[in-house]
């Protein structure tokens, strides 16, 4: 007996997908950018709504960062530089993969992952040095929310680095799509973090 499934039209030729992983990663990067920039927009809204008070130079500043909290500038700047290094390592992996140099591709991917871990460590160090208590006020709540979200994104980047590294280690050197998408993801993380660093840690 003929079933409904037997009556569907036959399949066409299989089409080779064009850079699906790169496009998907680009979409996720776009979503992540909107996530972080949306959070920064709300951050701006609250900062602008805060009252004015005299700053250290006598200039009136928004009373947003509580006076008892100090941003550890060395640690935050180190974190920003760390993120840039991670992106450069990601691009090094692409450069090596394009030359079918599996050793350097693996090395670059593992270093990217390790630099990502260093970035996580730096963020944790910033939390410790600042000593902000989450429940103390609006600034602290929003500070942990936005930097915590960034931290989760960096963790996902580290996982991506190690997955890509182990794929290359397993012999899939010719599979450049993953390495390229990985680099794109780290570019996104770096660009987004730099924006966050400037707004939260530099402008305060």
């Amino acid at each position: 007996m003929t079933s409904a499934n037997d009556l569907v039209l036959p399949a066409g030729p299989v089409a080779a997908a064009r850079h699906p992983l790169f496009i998907a990663t680009g979409s996720i990067a776009a979503a992540g950018t909107m996530l972080m920039f949306g959070m920064l927009a709300v951050w701006f809204k609250f900062r602008d709504a805060s009252e004015l008070r005299p700053g250290s130079g006598g200039k009136l500043i928004h009373d947003w960062l509580p006076a008892d909290l100090k941003i550890p500038e060395v640690a935050t700047n180190t974190l920003a530089v760390t993120m840039v290094i991670a992106a450069i390592m990601g691009q090094w992996a692409v450069y090596s993969a394009a030359r079918k140099d599996s050793q350097h591709t693996q090395l670059a991917l593992f270093i990217t992952g390790l630099v990502g871990i260093a970035a996580i460590n730096a963020q944790v160090a910033i939390y410790k040095q600042m000593g902000a208590v989450l429940a103390d006020g609006a600034y602290q709540t929003m500070f942990y929310a936005i930097t915590g979200t960034m931290l989760v994104l960096i963790c996902s980047g580290v996982a991506f680095s190690f997955v890509a590294a182990f794929r290359v280690l397993g012999g899939r050197v010719a599979d450049r799509a993953v390495v390229t998408a990985h680099a794109l993801y780290w570019y996104f993380l770096t660009a987004t973090f730099v924006a966050l660093w400037f707004v939260v840690y530099v402008q305060k």
Binding site: A4, G12, A15, P20, S27, M34, L35, A145
Partner: protein, 501 residues
């Protein structure tokens, strides 16, 4: 372009094994894009039942504004449920489900790209939406009194949003990267184009909601200072369940209309590029959404003040209307043909499209400050028009693509009947609220409103409308289940072979 039915090789495992458990397991682990799409559609149908039930209960409560059947806390949650379910339980998943089921076959791909990601998206959405509904039942939605349940609501909503983004990414990747050889983006069918634009809009706007949600969740759980705790959730997250954001959710519905008109006219769509531009214009609403503000029109002050108010208002609220008008106009142009043969799915889709356009026009009127419609039931009516209209368009789409998704057809009379009933229900449910809005009947309230005019009549007719739509939804679900399981198998493409007018 003709829609072809490509059997998914990835879903082959679904037929292996027998028995109920293996069947459920096969569905829950499927990578067949048609099954994932059907899972979205089927689960959205369940939430649709809940949505119309909520509409019915709230309408019933409004008939007599002096007495309350339910307590106020429950009513607050019912209003929150109607907004949350309309957007994230019905409109987005229905359209995303259709996109996942249909777009890959339209562009000539065997499967959706990253099918497991799409399935993960469905799972997260389904679990999240169940948590949201559970939290709402336990007094945990916006304004809810149970703090732990409010946290659960926020967690559920976050899962819903992450799931929808994940599935939308798969649709975007499929249309952009898995088209058959030689098919340019300009050659894809109108629905696939709308699926791409709609999914891209979700990918770009839902993360903004997620960001605010994270702030609100952390604030609610720990301090309740910055975001006003449970009472502030509606204020901070409300834009994602309101207009113009909802315009983005229904973009695929515009594509369905654009797809069905040439099928009725039996000719190629004239000025196809115009349809693409029209669909794109609707997505301009995303610029308004990401600002997380309402952009009303205040026609007061100097010319500069008027311009400052008019430009964002027109950009974010009028341009999407222009987009829909362009698509509808070109659909009518396609219908100017000697070879027209009406097909049943076009009827509900066309009526639903009319409801969506009415919602957009209503939204534009509501945002004119001198109309004094803000905070009235006029706002609610806009959401009813757009959500019920989207359901009607989806019903048309299910009837149209049913043969390629299920291998069976819906009966013509049932498709038209349910569509017509749904249209009547939508008009009855929403139009009286438009009128009551002009009489200043408050939104999100079921009591203490009194104005000159037949107060009871408007609310009674609206309740009747929700009742009719509930009957329409139940009838639609019954007809679909019966026809797609035991109906006659379809031979070839029924819309081309002339067997289904």
């Amino acid at each position: 372009m003709t829609t072809v039915n490509l059997p998914s090789t990835l879903g082959a495992e679904a037929t292996a094994g027998s028995g109920f458990l293996s069947s459920v397991g096969a569905w829950l682990t499927t990578t067949d894009h048609k099954r994932i799409g059907r899972l979205f559609i089927g689960t959205a149908a369940l939430w649709l039942l809940a949505l119309v039930g909520v509409g019915l209960v709230l309408g019933f409560e409004r008939i007599d504004s002096k007495t309350l059947t339910f307590n106020e806390g429950m009513l607050t949650q019912l209003f929150a449920a109607s907004k949350t379910l309309a957007s994230f339980g019905v409109m987005v998943p229905l359209m995303l489900g259709l996109s996942l089921a249909v777009a890959p076959t339209q562009v000539g791909s065997r499967s959706v790209m990253f099918a497991r990601n799409a399935m993960l998206g469905f799972s997260l959405w389904a679990i999240g939406s169940a948590l949201v509904v559970g939290a709402l039942i336990a007094n945990g939605g916006p304004g809810g009194g149970n703090a732990q349940m409010v946290d659960l609501y926020l967690l559920g909503l976050a899962l819903v949003i992450i799931g929808l983004i994940a599935s939308a990414v798969s649709v975007v990747a499929t249309v952009l990267s898995a088209r058959s050889a030689g098919t340019d983006l300009a050659d894809v069918p109108s629905f696939s184009w709308a699926a791409l634009i709609g999914s891209s809009s979700l990918v770009l706007t839902l993360p903004v909601t997620l960001g605010t949600l994270i702030y609100a969740a952390v604030d609610h759980h720990y301090t309740r200072i910055a975001f006003d705790g449970n009472m502030g959730l509606g204020k901070w997250l409300g834009w994602s369940m309101s207009q113009p954001q909802t315009f983005l959710y229904i973009i695929p519905a515009i594509g369905i209309l654009a797809e069905l008109a040439p099928a009725v006219a039996r000719r190629a769509q004239p000025l196809r590029g115009g349809v693409f531009v029209g669909v794109g214009l609707v997505s301009v609403a995303l610029l308004g959404s990401v600002t997380q503000n309402v952009h009303g029109l205040a026609w007061t002050g100097t010319l500069s003040d008027k311009a400052k108010s008019f430009v964002p208002y027109a950009l974010f609220n009028l341009l999407p209307i222009l987009g829909v008008v362009v698509v509808l106009g070109l659909a009518l142009l396609a219908l100017k043909s000697d070879s027209i043969k009406m097909i049943a799915p076009f009827v509900p889709a066309f009526l639903g499209g009319g409801m969506i356009l009415t919602a957009m026009l209503g939204n534009a009127v509501q945002l004119v400050s001198s109309a004094n419609l803000a905070g009235t039931v006029f706002e609610e009516a806009v959401l009813v028009y757009i959500s019920y209209g989207t359901v009607l368009v989806a019903w048309g789409a299910i009837a149209y693509w049913g043969p390629s998704l299920w291998g069976r057809m819906l009966p013509t009379k049932a498709v038209v009947g349910v569509g017509a009933l749904g249209f009547i229900g939508t008009v009855f449910a929403a139009l009286p609220m438009f009128i009551a809005g002009f009489a200043d009947q408050k939104a999100d309230s079921v009591k203490d409103f009194d104005y000159s005019g037949p107060v009871k009549l408007w609310n009674l007719v609206s309740t009747l409308g929700h009742g009719i739509f509930t009957a329409c939804v139940i009838a639609g679900i019954v007809v679909a289940i019966k026809s797609f399981t035991t109906g006659e198998p379809v031979v070839g493409n029924p819309w081309v072979d002339g067997g289904a007018q």
